[in-house]
């Protein structure tokens, strides 16, 4: 649905651009008729000659570059996703797979490892929106008293309920969480998720459990915003203790342990030490930096980046053909004209440059249009399975570069023909 809407918006944008370009063409012709001729006006006059064709070509290059840069943006996002997450924190999970839990008993033993400052834990809840199972968002049960202090630098709380009873907060816990901390069934929700679901602070929302069966009501007591990119704003957090009581029958399983380090430079060492400690226990562990842990999710996309590259290439190639075709036709139409220019004393090199420059303007214009459109539109997109979409400027520049190259390549043959054109042959065609 979102994609369909985006498509309609896109078509509208292209329609608007079309109308705009028409107006520009009309104005340009008016304006150029009044100026004295200079190489620059000559170039623009060349573009207005067959304005429909110019606009069509500019638009097709723009469409191609939009796609090229948008796909590049997905790659940027994937690339960015493996660089989020701190290298100062460690994550300890079950050695076989993330889906297996670890015993709570490990917590004390991990905390005792030299260099480990605090240990917190979280469990993936895997709940669904009871109204729409496809409306995915993440829920984590966390040990709030240690978890939020550990991530204090990564999030800020923008809204919070007032606590009904005064409670003593654990050290480092944001005072905004007072109401959340004092209520078992309370939850903390990201701003984007609030907006997406249309929730209000204080509202009680229901999550349908898949791993932990049943309908789970939670009351929203605080809303957070991310201060770093690694933190998603579409997540719900609630009390691990509550999940333990209601969902695990007090068996106290832990999904992963989060380790804050007092000696972050020794991260690799500490990770090895932790894993060595449990190597022969019932549940062996695997400890890695938070960044490596996050990167693990991205590598699940497998061949997708490769597929995107292939598509990008196909798109550029297809448009290269369109552009080359246009240049060729434009040249053929003007054979006599080039002959006249040469007769007037224009050198072969100048004629070559005129054809090339025209192509460059067309592709550069289309390229800029498409690339900037992609930059501004794609970043508004948010796919649940990916971190927020982003398009690096380097991708935009790269795209525009590709466009200019495309122009040069597509104009090379006609420009060469124009240069080599013999006046006698050109004029005979009249």
């Amino acid at each position: 649905m979102q994609i369909l809407l985006a498509l309609v918006a896109l078509i509208a944008v292209f329609g608007l651009a079309w109308a705009l370009l028409w107006a520009v063409g009309w104005g340009l012709r008016r304006l150029l008729g009044r100026t004295t001729v200079s190489p620059l006006t000559f170039l623009f006059v060349g573009l207005t000659r067959n304005w429909i064709r110019t606009v069509l070509t500019v638009m097709s290059v723009a469409a191609a570059l939009f796609l090229y840069v948008a796909l590049g943006g997905v790659l940027d996002t994937l690339k960015g996703a493996i660089q989020v997450g701190s290298e100062q924190r460690l994550i300890t999970r079950n050695g076989i797979s993330l889906v297996f839990p670890l015993p709570i008993a490990y917590r004390e033993r991990i905390a005792a490892v030299p260099g480990v400052q605090t240990v917190s834990c979280s469990n993936w809840f895997g709940g669904q929106d009871p109204n729409d199972p496809h409306n995915f968002y993440a829920q984590f049960a966390v040990d709030a008293a240690t978890y939020f202090p550990m991530y204090a630098k990564d999030v800020e709380f923008v809204e919070a309920s007032k606590p009904q009873v005064q409670v003593a907060l654990a050290p480092g816990v944001d005072p905004a969480l007072a109401a959340f901390m004092s209520e078992q069934t309370a939850c903390v929700v990201g701003v984007k998720l609030m907006k997406k679901m249309g929730w209000k602070l204080g509202q009680t929302v229901t999550v349908k459990g898949t791993i932990y069966p049943g309908n789970w009501p939670f009351t929203i007591r605080a809303v957070y915003r991310a201060k770093v990119k690694s933190m998603r704003e579409e997540t719900m957090f609630f009390h691990w203790q509550y999940l333990n009581q209601m969902g695990m029958g007090g068996q106290s399983f832990v999904g992963v342990y989060h380790l804050a380090l007092s000696q972050p430079e020794r991260a690799a060492d500490i990770a090895m030490q932790v894993d060595a400690m449990f190597e022969n226990s019932s549940a062996a562990t695997h400890t890695e930096t938070e960044r490596a842990f996050e990167a693990g999710f991205v590598s699940m996309y497998g061949n997708i980046p490769f597929v995107l590259r292939i598509i990008g290439l196909a798109v550029v190639f297809a448009i290269l053909l369109v552009a080359a075709n246009t240049m060729l036709m434009s040249f053929r139409e003007r054979t006599t004209e080039f002959g006249v220019l040469k007769t007037l004393g224009y050198s072969d090199g100048t004629v070559f440059a005129i054809v090339l420059a025209e192509a460059a303007v067309i592709t550069l214009g289309g390229g800029l249009l498409g690339a900037l459109l992609a930059k501004s539109l794609v970043q508004k997109f948010d796919l649940a399975v990916l971190p927020p979409m982003r398009v690096d400027w380097s991708t935009v520049y790269g795209g525009v570069g590709v466009a200019v190259l495309l122009g040069a390549v597509s104009a090379l043959i006609p420009a060469w023909q124009a240069m080599k054109l013999r006046i006698v042959d050109a004029l005979r065609r009249v």
């Binding site: 012709r29 008729g33 009044r34 001729v37 006059v45 002959g339 006249v340 004393g345 050198s347 009249v430």
Partner: protein, 223 residues
């Protein structure tokens, strides 16, 4: 002062396997300030001769001199530069650039010489006024009649003040009245401004206006 000297020029075209001689050892002298009409049946080599004099085609053998310059020795860039300074071309089908206005078309050759935009415009205006189109300068070619288009073309040919004008059937596509105007204009350019003119034509009426008529037949002068 410029004169045109064509000495023993041969021009052979190669078409498929056949060699087609167009000019066969032709010699022609045009003194400075002359107005020569080249006449002859189709395929007699009139246009080829004109192209050779204008330096847009090269002879197979022989020499073409215009003024002090032996244009066979010039090549590429130098030839183009020479052409811009010394030769004005007038075509049967005017060959104006359709997307440029009259005055912009006239300005076009001036782009090749160092000149300010203002001066360029001034000279183009002068040239257009000379051909009697001072009130049509912002019209596009398609908004002009054939005769007017040809006059713009003539303004374009003279704007850089070349000494030699080469005209290929300048009245071939015009009605009698317009043709008369064009011929008057050429006469005036010859007499008042001392332009050397070589004009290819089919039309005996047009040829009458020249100081001298030269007949070509099968690649040689026939008179």
């Amino acid at each position: 002062m410029a004169s045109v000297q064509v000495s023993n020029v041969r021009k052979v075209y190669q078409r498929d396997q056949q060699q087609i001689p167009v000019l066969d050892g032709l010699s022609l002298d045009v003194v400075s300030g002359d107005f020569v009409a080249l006449m002859g049946p189709s395929g007699s080599g009139k246009t080829t001769l004109l192209n050779l004099i204008g330096g847009i085609d090269q002879p197979t053998s022989g020499e073409v001199r215009v003024g002090e310059e032996s244009i066979g020795r010039l090549s590429g860039r130098a030839l183009a530069k020479w052409r811009a300074r010394n030769i004005g071309f007038i075509f049967q089908l005017y060959n104006l650039i359709p997307v440029l206005t009259a005055i912009q078309n006239v300005e076009l050759p001036l782009l090749l010489v160092k000149m300010s935009g203002k001066e360029r415009r001034q000279r183009a205006l002068t040239a257009l006024e000379l051909v009697g189109l001072g009130d049509r300068i912002h019209h596009y070619p398609r908004q002009l009649s054939g005769g007017q288009e040809q006059r713009v073309a003539i303004a374009r040919a003279i704007v850089s003040d070349p000494s030699v004008l080469l005209a290929d059937e300048p009245t071939g596509d015009l009605d009698r009245k317009s043709a008369e105007e064009i011929l008057l204009l050429l006469e005036r350019l010859n007499q008042e401004f001392q332009k050397t003119i070589v004009m290819v034509t089919h039309d005996p009426h047009a040829a009458e206006r020249a100081r001298r008529v030269v007949h070509l037949d099968k690649g040689v002068l026939s008179n």
